[in-house]
Symmetry: C2
Subunit: 141 residues, 2 copies
DNA sequence: CGCCAACGTTGGCGACACCAACAATAGCGT
DNA sequence: ACGCTATTGTTGGTGTCGCCAACGTTGGCG
C-alpha cells in the first residue's frame, strides 16, 4: 500500500523536477552560446543520421514542421546548415550540416556534457550509467 | 572519451523526453478529472505539511505567488480548500484543505499512480525503486 | 514614528507547443 | 492521361505556461 498523498513519492513528479533542473542547466549554457535547445538537437541529428529533409528532422525529434522552419532559418543564418531542394523530390529540402556547423556542434557538446556533469554532481559513474540506462527504457516516445 | 554528437546519450535529453512522456501521462488523467498538475501539487502539500500560507505553498512547490492565487481560486471554487485570513498576521491567508478536497485528492492519487505505472511499464519493482532513488538525488532544486 | 520587508492580487510579457491553411509537388488508381 | 489524395515547406495564429512589475495592505524594527 503506497502511503497516501506523498507528492515527492511519485516518479512523474520527481521526473518533472529533475528535468526542469536539467533544462535550465543546459539552456543557460546553450543560450550563452547563442542557440536554443532545438538548434542543438537539429545539429546533433544531422550528424547522427546524415542529411535529411525538414520533415524527417521534425518527425525524429518530435518537433512541429513549422518550428523546424524557424530553427533552420537561424542555423542557416549562422552558416551551420545548408538548404538545397531535393532533385529527386522537389517538395523536399535536403538539409546538410556544414563544416562550420560541425565544429560549432563540437563546442555545444562540451556545454551539454558540462550540464550533464553538474546535474549528476553527487552520483558515481556507476550510478550515472544506471540512471541513463533506466531513462532510456522509459523515454520511449 | 564520449562518442561525439550522440544526442540520445546525454542525460539532459533523456530526462526531457522521459519527463515529457510522464507529463502528458499525468496531465491527461488530471485534466479528465477537472484539475491541473499544480492543483494536485497544492492539494498534496496541504495534506503533507498541513495548513499554510499561500507564500509557503509557492515557495515549497517552486510556484510563483501569482500562479498560486489562480490555482487556489479554482480549488476554492470546487470546495477543495478554504482561505481564511490569519488572525496572527493579517497579511497572510491560511489555506486549509477540506474534507471534500481530501477525498478528491485520494482519487487524484490513484490517477497519478496509474500514470506512474504506465510510465515504468517495462521496469521491474527493483528498477522502479532504483530509478526513484536516483531521481531523488538529482531532483534537488 | 518612519522605513523596509513580506503578503495577496492583478495585469502583462515572452517563450513555447500546437494547429489551420495554403501553394507546390508527388504518387497512385482507374 | 487524368483526377484524387498525401506530403512538404511555409506563414500565421492561438492557447498555455512560467516569470516579472506594480500596487495596496500589513508587520517588524530601528
Amino acid at each position: 500500500m503506497s502511503e497516501p498523498h506523498r507528492l515527492s513519492g511519485t516518479v512523474v513528479w520527481l521526473l518533472g523536477r529533475a528535468a526542469q533542473r536539467a533544462h535550465v542547466l543546459a539552456r543557460d549554457r546553450l543560450t550563452a552560446a547563442g542557440i536554443g535547445k532545438w538548434h542543438y538537437a537539429v545539429l546533433a541529428t544531422l550528424t547522427e543520421h546524415g542529411q535529411q529533409s525538414q520533415a524527417d528532422i521534425g518527425r525524429r525529434l518530435g518537433l512541429d514542421r513549422s518550428d523546424v522552419v524557424a530553427v533552420l532559418n537561424d542555423l542557416q543564418g549562422d552558416g551551420y546548415v545548408t538548404r538545397e531542394p531535393d532533385p529527386a523530390d522537389r517538395r523536399r529540402n535536403i538539409v546538410t550540416i556544414s563544416d562550420v556547423g560541425r565544429t560549432a556542434l563540437a563546442g555545444f557538446d562540451l556545454l551539454v556534457a558540462e550540464a550533464d556533469g553538474l546535474l549528476m554532481d553527487e552520483l558515481s559513474a556507476d550510478d550515472r550509467a544506471c540512471l541513463k540506462a533506466l531513462l532510456e527504457r522509459i523515454a520511449h516516445v
